[in-house]
Symmetry: C2
Subunit: 349 residues, 2 copies
């Protein structure tokens, strides 16, 4: 089959690799219907995260089950499934507590699993999915093809934006500022509104992204950054700032923006991958009673709830995909996202 | 009147100072019935926080109102009152949101207020209290003298321990580890149990404090520190660690202990004054989904709720005072706390 490998910074190739198959009794073999490129895939693409040797890449996909192992109980051949960006068993102490990203038996796509078997990554034609019962979410029937982008968004960005909003305790009447206008930030806007936020300010300088943010429910746009951005946010929100900031970038600068903007006693929900490993000074958080929550989103935990809304037509996160390419143009997809010509690229094998 | 001043590290003196009086229409003049020494007073006492010039000290007191200004509506001469460790107006956007420590009009004891008038500190005979309506909580009748230590604990340590537990979302069934066996840590044990925690582990090496922690409801004691302490906590709590850690110290070491001990997806409620200004690495918090909340406790917000339980005899935090001295022995009180001969010292003018 064909699958995507990253060889080095800015060197993305679609190559012929071994066909995966069911190996373990808990496995499912999934034919990928759609996958996509994540903002976090740009870290190695840009060389910010090193690539020591060529490896598979991609952690978001939806597809159809081709075959399952003998122990698989909740998905069957022919099922349309959503794969979250982390594998999880569904039964360990962490999965039971809704922290599937810390599953005691799980892991990531494109690595060797705990049984010593290679697990395919998402940007390919097929994937062997270990722990299929705990990892995959099967739909009860085949979805309308028009919903595929929305369903694919549940594999990462929508659940991640939702996690930021949940971690920041967004509820009816909460005022929210979203830092980051990438796919996750845009989904955070959608999530905040869905949870009842009445004011959602997006910080963005990009007209197309501003427009999408407004379509997702943003009530205000702030184009300034740094101290000016903080001042503009405070001006908009009663002079004190928002109840909640959703930090969807992960850099020192975005954290400064978040801490500067949030009101005293407010909450920062963060999901931006901390590629630069920023550190948080305790003193300002202490003196201003700012709470910080979030992290790598346990998307598996959220899929059932969000899926209901997608299937009911109440939640349409698929609009974050503004470029669709065949899988053999995956390298162009990376370039388009790197150059910010696209918010998020959907790939069809 | 007599009041306590700190002149330099380990130089505490009771001196004759100007008698305070009602100056502004929102003022109350309070005769101090009891005050106390805080663990945070030891930072300047030990020279860790610098003392540039002699100044008043003490931020916890209860007393009886002697006189009020023309605008004061909620307290009257003769009332027994509890003063939280921060002054607050009660009506600004921050006070309305329960963050009285960020009051737009408030401040601290022993400083000059926004009207240019000096505000006395707590370790003295009398205190001019600006913003009396927003700051003081009056009892509806004179309390039983035996309750004075419990009421005094509401001025800081009990509300602070409670804040840690609230910030860590402690509720029925939560498993909790408390880092710090000082008065705040001990009150955090009490608060966690009061909020429904079924397992409360105190990290302590001091037999007297362990005993008090058990009397306050701690179910387990861990004497190890560092990596051994983390391992011991995990062993006790299902191999994964507690749902919540209450960080009541504020040093790099105590933060490492807290982050090391808490389970993935858990919460750190912190109230330890960050005298060393520790910083938090985002990456481990991110990858493990650890939430961090707390800060300088808005004690004023919590007093009414906690006071009900104290008056009903359900909450007895006053046991943290294990040494009572007349005010003229205040210097000995500091020495006793510094040398850990006392958990917390109550002073009677």
């Amino acid at each position: 089959m064909k699958a995507t490998l990253i060889h080095a910074a800015r060197d993305i190739r679609l190559e012929e690799v071994a066909d995966p198959r069911v190996v373990l009794p808990g496995d499912a073999l999934v034919r990928v219907v759609a996958s996509c490129i994540c903002g976090s895939d740009l870290w190695p693409y840009r060389g910010i995260a090193p690539t020591d040797e060529p490896h598979r890449i991609g952690h978001e996909f939806v597809g159809v089950v081709e075959e399952v192992g003998a122990d698989v109980a909740t998905v069957a051949a022919g099922d349309f499934v959503i794969a979250p960006f982390a594998r999880s068993c569904g039964v360990c102490a962490m999965c039971q507590r809704g922290v599937q990203t810390s599953c005691l038996n799980g892991g990531w796509w494109g690595e060797t699993d705990r049984d010593g078997q290679f697990v395919d990554a998402g940007q390919g034609e097929y994937v062997r999915v270990p722990l299929a019962d705990g990892t995959l979410v099967a739909l009860s029937e085949q979805p309308d093809p028009a919903l595929v982008p929305d369903l694919l968004a549940l594999s990462d960005v929508m659940g991640t934006g939702h996690h930021a909003a949940v971690a920041a305790h967004v509820q009816t009447g909460t005022s929210v500022v979203v830092v980051g206008d990438g796919a996750v930030g845009l989904c955070a806007v959608l999530a905040a509104r869905r949870l009842g936020a009445d004011r959602v300010v997006i910080m963005s300088r990009n007209p197309a992204r501003q427009e999408l943010a407004r379509a997702f429910g943003a009530t205000d746009v702030v184009t300034e950054r740094g101290d000016e951005g903080v001042a503009a946010v405070r001006d908009l929100l009663g002079g004190i700032g928002p109840d909640a900031v959703l930090e969807c970038v992960g850099t020192e600068g975005s954290w400064q923006q978040a801490i500067g903007a949030v009101r005293d006693g407010g909450r920062i929900g963060y999901v931006g991958v901390p590629a630069e490993n920023p550190s948080l000074p305790v003193r300002p958080l202490f003196s201003r009673n700012i709470a910080v929550g979030g992290g790598v989103a346990p998307v598996r935990h959220y899929i059932p709830e969000l899926l209901r809304d997608v299937l009911a037509g109440r939640l349409r996160p698929g609009r974050v995909f503004d470029l669709e390419l065949p899988l053999d143009q995956v390298a162009e997809g990376y370039a388009a996202m790197d150059e910010r010509r696209a918010v998020k690229v959907l790939l069809r094998p």
